[in-house]
Symmetry: C2
Amino acid sequence: MKPDGAPGSEGRLHVRTRTGSYPVLVGRGLLQRLAGIVDEFASVDRVGLVTDDRVGPLHAERVAEQCRRAGLDVTYLTVPAGEASKTRESWSVLTDRMLDAGLGRDSAVIAVGGGVVTDLAGFVAATYLRGVPVVQVPTSYLAMIDASVGGKTGVDVRAGKNLVGAFHPPAVVVADTDVLATLPTVERAGGLVEGVKHGAALDEGHFEAFERAAPVLLDADADAAASYVLDSVRLKAEVVGTDEREAGYRQVLNFGHTIGHALESASGFALAHGAAVAHGMIAEADAGERAGVTAGGTRDRLEAVLRPLLAAAGARRLTLRPSDVSTFLRVDKKARRGRPRYVLLERVGSVSRGDNWTYELPDTLVQDVLTRLLDEA
Amino acid sequence: MKPDGAPGSEGRLHVRTRTGSYPVLVGRGLLQRLAGIVDEFASVDRVGLVTDDRVGPLHAERVAEQCRRAGLDVTYLTVPAGEASKTRESWSVLTDRMLDAGLGRDSAVIAVGGGVVTDLAGFVAATYLRGVPVVQVPTSYLAMIDASVGGKTGVDVRAGKNLVGAFHPPAVVVADTDVLATLPTVERAGGLVEGVKHGAALDEGHFEAFERAAPVLLDADADAAASYVLDSVRLKAEVVGTDEREAGYRQVLNFGHTIGHALESASGFALAHGAAVAHGMIAEADAGERAGVTAGGTRDRLEAVLRPLLAAAGARRLTLRPSDVSTFLRVDKKARRGRPRYVLLERVGSVSRGDNWTYELPDTLVQDVLTRLLDEA
């Protein structure tokens, strides 16, 4: 094993897109040589570096300094930490500040932060002068495993999360697992939920790897994290490479997210994304079992893994009524003719094909599922 | 020749994109069968129909009625006519109204209007749920010849025009030249400037076709317009098919636009786009001659064609100073390291290759060009 933070200890894979591919680098010490990576994969003279006011002092300020020393013209941009920054208003402000700085098409955006920053900065890059490259530097499990890979960018609006955005594949994704040590435990737990989702939907072996490694991953062991994140991203990359635009198969990655997103929206975004998706997976496994699609016992197996994560994520009791939640199911992006669609498992590690990988479910069944979820959660 | 507005009298061509191609239909009577065209090329159940309060009563309301009769669920959305609607605020409002109407991914946007509507509605479609199809129904020369073809969408911001947007190729473009009869003469003249640009940059024959047909085209003769628009779009389509993302050759379509956009911005958008580009082409031909790139006499030949269009466009004297304009040249999307780039002609019908199809010019030369332009214009 290489020493802590040794430059060069990295795993690498490539995500295919409709028009090419981009690399995802996962390992330790990558932030210490980020300027070189930017030069290799984005080849620009000027960058807008977007971060938040929590990650900035911890990591992004040093990244900015390193880029300046390497001769890049850096415009440093920061937003308040938290989901409330993922709005059209923040997007407008960041865009205007980059325009004021005179950044042209010879520029790139570097996003250093969690999912809020990578989604928001990605959308800025997608729409700035009709699109400039973005270098995604995720600093949370959530962003490493999920948000920064796959090209989805966007912001939240009144009607729900991520309803406005664009597909904008990054130039490169750089996931340095050394930074996870500075991530609060509640956020580590929330982000690992997406890894559990990759296992539950795509690969029982990955699910079991989490069952074994949960404590060290929660503890942010940088080597264990590098290995787990790389495997998890590889699973996602295989799906995204097959169906970048979510026309079909990519929807399997939305397991737990139909109900999860509705829970988040119904809570006014007070419920964290990871916790919402954990509840959503338990509920959608329940729904699948009730619909006769999912093998019996799947819900309980998921719950056994997810309850400790929910506890570590500091999730409080849900104080919502089923009707609060169903209102938001209607506007899910997968809805057809106003009817929500659900990704259902066959069993842990495998999604059921259904109609183009999703199912419509009877209202009464969904009602029963929500009632149980909200009674027990 | 078919009778006025006879369904079926159409020309058709295909614009290649990185991921496929889309058809452009040009002819008479197309609006009368738009619902069928939408069904053929977009195949959705629900549409957000975006128009403005001038084109709405003239054309879009009937289109909406026709779509409803064909069984489509239509959300009718209107903005005030004029460039002032091409903003992030309008984009937000249109998006929220579509979300409120519950439009899902089984929806498309239909844009019925001039360049403001096609650019704005295209950007709504590009970012709605990360992208839904858009059917472009241009109702002005500008939108038919230029704005609705090529996949560029976007809005204006404080720093300049079209600085925020996305590439989002339409599902189909439907240009019905019968509608040009309702277009005010000033807008006919302004839009035809882009046709002159296609001739000046790409094809001397097309330039000469305009010289011959200018009066009937200004008079909105629907058959002459169909023939001219189809030829003009074909020239643009060849360029866009070679370089959709404007990495290189597509920049030739920006002839006249570096100075043109700066004039528009410096005027606070009081100067119409067509008039600004006409001035921009004259100025950039002048610049090319001064730089020894453009054949002598090119500026004068352009001016001879464009002055009557400027007069018909009701363009008033420019009351700007050169320094007002040069401020905005710096933020042009083609700028590199804050230095503006210019597309220069070899002669009428041909652009000079330069460095990746653009040139940097000495400040003093640009200053002289602007001084002459603003003295004479």
